[in-house]
Structures are given as structure tokens and as C-alpha cells.
Symmetry: C2
Subunit: 340 residues, 2 copies
């Protein structure tokens, strides 16, 4: 098979972790006789520095022509405390999501037995946790109208969802639930928000089409508690963009292996595979960044973008083996102080 | 002193827990020679059933004339999965918040040594945790414009904040930080939301007025992780309404004593004191509901509404003593299976 991949390394530790994931990708392609074509594109703070745009048109073209995008991380602290900056690295990420139509962000939350002692939760609560968070990624308050009024003294953002957007993502949730343990938790704030009431209505409409799936509607505040109290009660969770941002990050730390978690963003034009951790600029260049989340993102890429399940499995096994052999970075090494 | 109190018991276990808190309040008033005047008002699902309004005008009048409101809990499952219901118990709560100008919801998160084994977190992470969450309660997406377009197929909600609203709550955050350990964490999503950028700007403007306080700006997704990974890093946290809803509920479970946590909502016209747990209808009438969160809310009432610190302290000591004596409900009893 011929794999055309765009590689966007980004900022901070992005380039380092991408390097390792690329090595793995090349090795797997060699082993299975696939032809790998890849090209690098710039994005994030480094792209602002270079061309004044965090997601330049050339990078977008590259992504559009590729079957999958392997993505590092973006962000630089110099933009963090400057609310008035007009160009920010995050705009590049959001622009990419919108332009590539990356409507579904998938984040498997899985506890690694060898890392369970790193979890902030009691072992019995989290051992065996295995669920999939699906976050809507191109709608909601991230992309609605926003602005200032009243001489800049009033600020607003709009959370907006259309029926098509909600149907698409909830249906995807049911499809994944069918492939897994047949339970779908639809998270909203239907007791307050009109957009959430639309989500709940549509959930109730679609549910009967999947009679084998147990549907659970849950308020976002309740979900935030449940992720800590009873993570094993989840199978597939689906929610809107902003709630998903918060809940998926919350969920990502319960296993104690944040540096291990990959994600896939399924799109209309192509799909993007990236670690869920950030650009971690303090660690850049120190050769301490854990590349396994990016390596596992490459595994998801083989599986989700190319339907090459054997290849994905081989990568996962290699990761497991290196954990067992304790061939790993200090953030997950036995006996190390917990990183926060 | 003369204490004029409105008592809104609400739904589910509300009346039961309020009964106990009232007993304590009466006992304390007797002991200290205060004159207690209290009157009951209806609110929530039971008020819808009785008069078709979850926060009737008569109840509002009662609250306006009182120095403090002791509040139980509201909500009934019969409204949960009916997104098209036009009158919902929650509207009563939101109406009350708006009409009484309850702009600041204060939630102390404190771990009880005798209950630490109930925490879903590892003991070392949570033992000694002690922070105050301040949630803005009358602005943001809870009270902005919302509606449907396009034949009901598009739904929107608006998150809107004015400079005055943000200044008021951030200043309150600094005032509490000054009284505590002089650290304030301002939580927003300034890398995406315009309203958050207004929060961050105003935070940066006010910070220099409190040079003794260490100010930390934190993105909401990061805060959701930090609450689990390092709760002891917080002293005072302040955030907008929706983020506060999610984060305060998340924070409330880390100590394992959800049934123990009180809250105060500081208002322009009066203040409301209530347990943070819900109406828990499954438990109503079974005499198993833990009243201690409501009892501790009464303690906060003495302290915050009447500046009667001794009285508040006495209640806290009584609660601690009853925990040590294991005179408590089954949700916090030693050796019981964890409630979820
Ligand atoms: C960087 C930021 C805009 C982004 C988001 O909020 O979506 C990030 O937090 C994420 O979750 O991918
Ligand atoms: C019942 C609901 C409207 C309310 C809220 O979201 O504010 C509740 O969750 C709370 O936190 O007091």
C-alpha cells in the first residue's frame, strides 16, 4: 500500500516526539512492504515566526493532499498571557480543524497495567478502565460568533449547533458503541442550554435505531464527577466541543499516563493523529519528552486512516514491550516523582 | 442578635436535610441568645406541582425580606429527559440567583481526615487539600441570549460578560486570597474565547493592586487536570459560571465527602446557603440522606451572613465530633461500599 502522510511537528517537544513516531512508522512500512511518502509542513508558533500564520496555506494544501496527518503539538508561552495578541498558535489548530472538517476527536482512555501506580486515583477505581471519548470538534462555542461591544467592555461568544452536526457525531458515537461494549453516554447541559437540548432531542431520536446500545444521558457536571468516581462505568462518551475539551483532559490524567495517550481527529478531507499532551516547551530540547503518545497516534493512523490493523497492533505490542522492559522516559519510570 | 431566615427546602431529600440543619440552627441560637425568625417558602419541582412556578413571587418576596436563605435542593427526574418541557425546576434556581443577585458561589473544598479513605484519589494527593472555589453565578452562558433558528434545527446559547461583572468577582477572589494563603488561580479559556480574554485582561489589571497575592492564570482544561493531579496547589480559584459548574463539581468529589460540602452564594440582596449535593430523589424518605453538608451550610450562614464566627465554629466542631464518634449516615460510615 502507498501511504501519503503530512507531518506537522509544531512547537516545543513536537519535533522530538514526531521524530520518534516517524522512525516507528518507517520501520513498520518497511516490515510490511508499504511505500511511505511523507512531507513536513510548518504550523503553530514557529509558523507565526516564519511566515506570520500558524496554519499557512501551503501547510493546508499539503494536508489536503495527504491521506493522514501526523501532528506533534503547538503552543508557546509567549502567547499565553497576552490576551490582546491578534495572531495566536491556537488559531492555526482551530483553522486546521475547520478547514479539514475534523469533526470528531477520538480519545481512547486506557489504563496501562504497568503504569497504574502513576494514577492519581485509587488503583481499584481505575485498573481496567477502558473507554472512548468522542468530542465534537468543529462546532459549538469554538466556532460561533464572538466579539466585543460597549467599547470593548462587554465580550461574548456564541455556542451554536445545527441538527446535521449533532446527528453526525451522535451517530458516530453509536457506531463506536456497537463496535465496543454497547453503551453510549451522551453528555450535555440540557437543564440550562438550548444547544444541549437540541443534542438531547437528537440523541433521543437516534437511540431507537440502535436498540442494542444502552443510551445514558448525563449532565456535564455529573460527568466531571463520574470520571473520577467511577471511570469504569463508561464505554463510549460523546459530547460537544467545549465540554469535550474539559472532560477529555480530565479523563486523560486518571490513568496516570498522560504522556501515553494518542488521539485521532476524523475529518471530511483527511484525518489527523496527534498525542493529547501539549507542546511542553519547558522540556523541549532536553531529550526527556515521552514519545509514546505520538507513537501510539501513529498506531491509530495505521488503523483508522488505512485500515491496517496488523500494523497498528504491532506498534502497540512494541510499546507494551518497551514498558515491560522499562525502556522509557523518566515521566513514566518506576519510582520517579510524579510530574504535574 | 435577630436572625431573619427564609427556608427553602425544595425537592427530594431537601426537606429532610433542612430539618436537621434547622434543629442545629435553633440550638445554636438558643445557646448564644439569638432570636431566630424563620419562614418556609416553596421552590423547585414541588412548587411547579403546587403553583406552576419553580420560584414563585411569594417565595421571592420572602427571600428579599430575609437576611439569609437556607436552601435544600431541587430537581426531579420527571423533568430530566424531557428537553421540551417548558417549565423546569432548574429555572427556579436560576431565577432565584438572578433576582437575588447571587453573583458569587463559594465552595470550600476541604478534606476531612476521618473520611480520607473515602476519597477516589490517593491519600497523599488529597490529604490536607484545602481550597476555595469561587464561581461567578449570574452571568455567562447561563443568562445570555439563547434560542432556536431554522425551524428549530439550529440552537444557540450566548456567553456574555461585562467588565463590571468580571471586576466584581475577580476582586472578591483577591479578597478571599488575602484572607487565606495569598494565591489566586483565575481559570479561563483565553486561547479560544473572547469572554475569557476579557477575564484575563481584567485579571491582569487588578493583579497589581494585590502585590502580596500570587496570581496564576490557568486554562480550564488544565484546571480540570490539576484538580485531580495536584489539588493541594490551589488556594483560591475563581472562574466563570459554566466552567465553575463543572470544576466545582469535579473538585467536590476528590475529598470523598460530597455529602459533607456546603456552599454560600453571596448576593446583592441576600445570601443563600446550601449543600452542594442535589435532591437525590432515590434516597428521599428513606432516612439515609446525609444532612452534614446542610448543617455545615448553616455554619457558613452564621459566619458569612451574620459575621457570627463563634457560632459557626461550634457547628463545625460538633460535626467533627460526630464524625469521630462515627455517628453518621451510611454514605460516610467506615467500611461501607462507596456510593457513586
Ligand atoms: C489549544 C486549544 C485551542 C485546544 C482546544 O481547546 O481545543 C486544546 O486544548 C485541545 O484540546 O486540543
Ligand atoms: C441545577 C443546575 C441549573 C445548577 C447549575 O448548573 O448551576 C446546578 O448544577 C448547580 O451547580 O447548582
Amino acid at each position: 500500500m502507498k501511504l501519503n502522510i503530512a507531518v506537522l511537528a509544531g512547537d516545543g517537544i513536537g519535533p522530538e516526539v514526531i521524530d520518534q513516531a516517524l522512525k516507528v512508522t518507517k520501520a513498520v512500512c518497511e516490515r510490511f512492504g508499504h511505500e511511505l511518502n511523507y512531507e513536513h509542513g510548518i504550523t503553530g508558533a514557529c509558523a507565526i515566526d516564519e511566515v506570520g500564520d500558524p496554519y499557512p496555506e501551503a501547510t493546508h494544501e499539503l494536508c489536503m493532499q495527504s491521506d493522514a496527518v501526523l501532528y506533534g503539538a503547538i503552543g508557546d508561552p509567549k502567547y499565553d498571557n497576552n490576551p490582546k495578541a491578534t495572531v495566536r498558535p491556537e488559531q492555526g489548530l482551530l483553522g486546521m480543524r475547520k478547514k479539514l472538517g475534523l469533526y470528531a476527536n477520538l480519545r481512547p482512555v486506557v489504563s496501562f497495567p504497568s503504569l497504574i501506580h502513576k494514577s492519581p486515583l485509587r488503583t481499584d477505581l481505575v485498573d481496567g478502565a477502558d473507554f472512548m471519548c468522542i468530542r465534537e470538534l468543529t462546532g459549538g462555542i469554538y466556532f460561533g460568533d464572538r466579539g466585543r461591544k460597549n467599547d470593548g467592555n462587554t465580550a461574548f461568544d456564541t455556542c451554536i449547533y445545527t441538527r446535521e452536526e449533532v446527528e453526525r457525531i451522535i451517530t458516530l458515537g453509536y457506531e463506536y458503541a456497537m463496535k465496543r461494549n454497547k453503551k453510549l453516554t451522551i453528555v450535555d447541559k440540557a437543564n440550562v442550554l438550548e444547544s444541549s437540548r437540541l443534542w438531547r432531542e437528537i440523541g433521543q431520536e437516534i437511540a431507537p435505531q440502535y436498540p442494542e446500545v444502552e443510551t445514558e444521558f448525563m449532565l456535564v457536571d455529573n460527568a466531571a464527577m463520574r470520571i473520577i468516581q467511577w471511570p469504569k462505568s463508561f464505554d463510549v462518551m460523546v459530547t460537544e466541543n467545549m465540554f469535550g475539551d474539559i472532560l477529555t483532559d480530565e479523563a486523560s490524567v486518571i490513568t496516570g499516563s498522560m504522556g501515553m495517550l494518542p488521539s485521532a481527529s476524523i475529518g471530511v478531507h483527511t484525518s489527523v493523529f496527534e498525542p493529547i499532551h501539549g507542546s511542553y516547551p519547558q522540556a523541549a530540547g532536553k531529550d526527556i519528552a515521552n514519545p509514546l503518545a505520538t507513537v501510539l497516534s501513529a498506531a491509530m493512523m495505521f488503523e483508522y486512516a488505512f485500515d491496517l490493523m496488523e500494523e497498528g497492533k504491532l506498534i502497540r505490542e512494541a510499546v507494551d514491550a518497551s514498558l515491560v522492559a522499562e525502556f522509557c522516559t523518566e515521566d513514566i519510570a518506576e519510582g520517579e516523582a510524579k510530574k504535574t
